[in-house]
């Protein structure tokens, strides 16, 4: 088995590191060898951030090189587009339909342009994560919605069950309940979208 690669792209502060380590633990529970490549330091201050999660039957290296990614999870449209070259041409992009222009940026592509160019480059599904997170109980749970969505993608082997068990081990009480709900909502939404995509 060649190593499988998940790329998580977004803006510093969106909870990408949490997603990476939860995914890593879930894959460990499923019996794989796992590497999670994180970014610490200054770029966490609202900069462009990318986290790599890789797994295989042997210990994979922590870096995803261009063209290698099986799945791109984008928490923001510009950042998802920025990391497209890391994805394999047969890879899948699951993207939060949310545009956050960098402060003081001169030219910013529109939401429609970004959706179109991501859609043209690779197979992709777009998810409106914020309303789902709010429905689960907190706008902060966008990262959990996207994590749930990822579990619905067959191009990688993350199961919703293992994600739920690591999330409930990590978060207790009300926060835990919100996060579990967000995971489920994201999962269901992605299943629906992937179904529509397969038909359409």
């Amino acid at each position: 088995m060649r190593p499988r690669s998940i790329v998580i792209a977004g803006v510093g502060g969106q909870g990408l590191l949490t997603m990476g380590s939860l995914l890593g633990e879930a894959l460990l529970r499923q019996g794989y060898k796992v590497s999670v490549g994180e970014v610490h330091g200054l770029s966490q201050r609202g900069g462009s951030v990318v986290v790599f999660v890789r797994y295989a039957e042997y210990q994979p290296s922590p870096v995803v090189a261009p063209g290698e990614g099986d799945l791109l999870v984008g928490l923001e449209l510009i950042e998802a587009a920025r990391r497209l070259p890391l994805l394999s041409r047969s890879g899948l992009a699951v993207v939060n339909d949310f545009l956050l222009p960098p402060p003081a940026a001169q030219r910013v592509p529109s939401r429609e342009e970004l959706v179109a160019s991501i859609g043209k480059a690779v197979r992709s599904v777009f998810i409106e994560a914020l309303p789902l997170a709010e429905k689960a109980g907190s706008p902060v749970a966008v990262n959990m919605v996207m994590l749930g969505a990822l579990a619905a993608c067959r191009s990688v082997d993350v199961s919703l069950e293992s994600l739920k068990s690591v999330v409930s081990a990590r978060f207790r009480g009300a926060v835990g309940a919100i996060n579990l709900r967000a995971l489920e909502l994201g999962y269901e939404e992605a299943l629906k979208k992937l179904g529509e995509e397969a038909q359409g």
């Binding site: 380590s21 490549g37 770029s43 609202g46 290296s61 922590p62 920025r82 960098p102 003081a104 480059a121």
Partner: protein, 622 residues
């Protein structure tokens, strides 16, 4: 996780960062002390140790700078106890003076110096390769090739350090420090030894003629290690097909292992983790081959040692290294596969990803909403205008370095910790325009004070603005001597920045709240005029606790943040708040602007500077 990420019984399995793994190894080795000055990518080592310091009973400190951190660790070792100190690669430059002497003296208690290098300069001013420091200082260098190995090696290096009476360098890199992998915990040992000062002036006082004798002994020690390390368990040789040997050094082994799987080849492989001195027995083994490919990140450290060994043995193998693998930037499995494919004569086409398809705006990191640095920059810029000056903006390292970016553009240079003052002085001696030097609070304690003393003593006309947010923010809010608390959050004395400045002999010292832009502006304007007239240094301390820390504490206390809003009818669309102040919580919406409540930190500075008085606390009418 109760007790922190590295607390647990032997046999516990956990997904740890490379840095946490190193910390766990130190705990298992029974350290008595850990010291550090923070710096990416090294910071999480001592952060993880601080979390379990009480549980396992050792001492942890955030030191003023890396030189002090290393010196404290040396003192602990002279008491016969084990110590770890950790720093980023450029931190070792600051600690290099005691390091060079440490090579001569050696140690009593095991002493591990972790150097976290940053190939690709993800968060640093350069990508220096600190393995070379080991050669320079006669201190052996060890480099793990995975997270589990980082834990195991860190533990064992304390034994090795004591066995050979030498400090050791444990070299990690960003990709290892900040990647997670599974780690199985081992037993925590508590060496039952008494703290005792090992008095031995002939050894510890490096005076002639003892220092020359030490130099000789040190060379002998390195030669002994060169012999003994051939059988060290983290170095190994694996038989394979063909006559080309692949040598993988340290962290590069992560990529080599994967690249060989990808290429589907199995050449003979020599994995080396003792990168200096390169073991004699392994060099002999390597030189049995006619063709040798060395894979390592950055400088050709192992490659050159092998070339020397070949030359000494009178052999002429073909050695490939840096002509196949880049010397600039970091490696990945694809780059390594490409280089290996060429050396091994197999086919390899690296995959290509789809292009982004649209032109994307860059997204550099930004000062957070509510950051006092933004208010201070805004105020200082106004002050410079009012003083009819066009200052040279000397800047330093920290979150405030982001003043480099538009709209502020207030960093004409940033160099190394404290250099805003030093280099700024050199410029100010000959500049007609004033020099305004920005320096963070943590940086001021680290390396700013000697510069300030120089400014007083040698009479420099320089305005020093201390950007005081009361913590070391950039690396994750570690405390420093001005914070008033220690690594476990416990109360500590506060060293006063303004008190220090006055004690150094600076006559013009003013402290202003950074959010009060008018006061900050006026104080800075006075400082610029004072410096011009008197030709002497002036210090302005712009103080506002880091907004992230402030928000976190408010949340903990259950306090609500009063966010601000724009009164649309009053907004004249002038753009001062978006274009000149550039708070990420403020965005344009058509003709007017809007404040995003989920980002607003409630600092209210935008309300102060709004010329139309169109910004008010949400919930209040205008």
């Amino acid at each position: 996780m109760a007790g922190g990420s590295i607390s647990g019984e032997a046999g516990t399995r956990r997904l740890l960062l490379g840095n946490e793994a190193i910390a766990r190894g130190a705990v298992e080795a029974g350290i008595s002390a850990a010291t550090a000055y923070p710096g990416t990518p090294s910071t999480e080592i001592v952060e993880a140790l601080a979390e379990v310091a009480e549980e396992y009973g050792f001492y942890v400190e955030w030191s003023t700078n890396e030189k002090v951190a290393l010196e404290v660790a040396i003192g602990v070792s002279m008491m016969g106890l084990r110590a770890l100190t950790a720093m980023k690669h450029v931190g070792l430059n600051v600690a290099s003076d005691p390091l060079m002497s440490l090579g001569y003296t050696g140690v009593v208690g095991g002493l591990v110096i972790v150097t976290a290098d940053d190939p690709n300069a993800h968060s640093s001013q350069n990508e220096q390769d600190n393995r070379i420091y080991g050669m320079h200082a006669y201190i052996p260098v060890f480099e793990p090739s995975g997270v589990q190995e980082a834990k195991d090696m860190a533990r064992e290096l304390f034994d090795l350090s004591e066995k050979y009476s030498t400090a050791v360098l444990l070299r990690t890199t960003t990709r290892l420090s900040h990647s997670r992998g599974e780690v199985v915990f081992g037993e925590v040992s508590r060496p039952s030894r008494e703290a005792r000062f090992h008095r031995d002036p002939e050894r510890w006082a490096l005076l002639p003629p003892y220092n020359l004798r030490k130099h000789r002994e040190t060379l002998e020690r390195i030669e002994r290690l060169r012999g003994d390390l051939s059988s060290w368990r983290f170095n190994w040789f694996a038989e394979g097909d063909g006559d080309t040997l692949v040598v993988s050094a340290g962290a590069a082994h992560m990529y080599v292992a994967e690249a060989l799987e990808t290429l589907g080849v199995k050449p003979p492989l020599l994995k080396v983790s003792s990168v200096y001195p390169f073991p004699r027995g392994l060099a002999e083994k390597a030189l049995e081959f006619e063709r040798i490919v060395v894979v390592e990140e950055l400088e050709p450290v192992v490659e050159h040692q092998l070339r020397v060994a070949a030359s000494e043995a009178g052999k002429t193998p073909k050695i490939f290294g840096k002509e196949l693998f880049p010397r600039v930037g970091e490696l990945n499995a694809q780059l390594v596969a490409s280089g290996l494919a060429r050396a091994l004569g197999v086919k390899y086409e690296p995959p290509q990803g789809p292009p982004a398809g649209v032109e994307l705006p860059p997204r550099p990191p930004t000062l957070c909403p509510g950051c006092g640095h933004r208010a201070a920059y805004y105020a200082v810029k106004l002050a410079a205008m009012r003083a009819r000056s066009n200052p040279v903006w000397a800047n330093d390292i920290g979150c405030y370095t982001l003043g480099f970016y538009p709209p502020f553009r207030m960093a004409d240079f940033t160099w190394s910790m404290g250099s805003a003052l030093g280099i700024g002085m050199g410029i100010s001696r000959f500049s007609k325009e004033p020099v305004v030097a920005f320096i963070g609070d943590s940086t001021f304690f680290h390396a700013g004070v000697p510069g300030l003393i120089n400014a007083v003593y040698n009479r420099y006309p320089i305005v020093v603005v201390v950007m005081d947010n009361e913590v070391t923010a950039m690396t994750g809010h570690q405390p420093h001597p001005g914070s008033g608390f220690g690594p476990l959050g416990e109360p500590r004395p506060r060293v006063s920045i303004e008190g220090l400045a006055k004690a150094c002999g600076v006559e013009f010292v003013e402290v202003v709240p950074a959010y009060d832009v008018w006061r900050a502006r006026d104080a800075t304007e006075r400082a610029i005029r004072y410096v011009r007239e008197k030709g002497l240094p002036a210090v302005v301390v712009a103080r506002q606790r880091c907004a992230l820390v402030e928000l976190r504490e408010k949340r903990r206390r259950g306090e609500k943040v009063t966010v601000y809003r724009v009164v649309e009818e009053k907004c004249i669309g002038c753009g001062v708040c978006v274009d000149r102040f550039a708070c990420p919580a403020i965005v344009r919406e058509g003709r007017v602007v809007k404040i995003l409540p989920e980002l607003c930190a409630g600092c209210g500075v935008c309300a102060t500077i709004c010329p139309a008085k169109a910004i008010v606390p949400a919930g209040e009418s205008a």
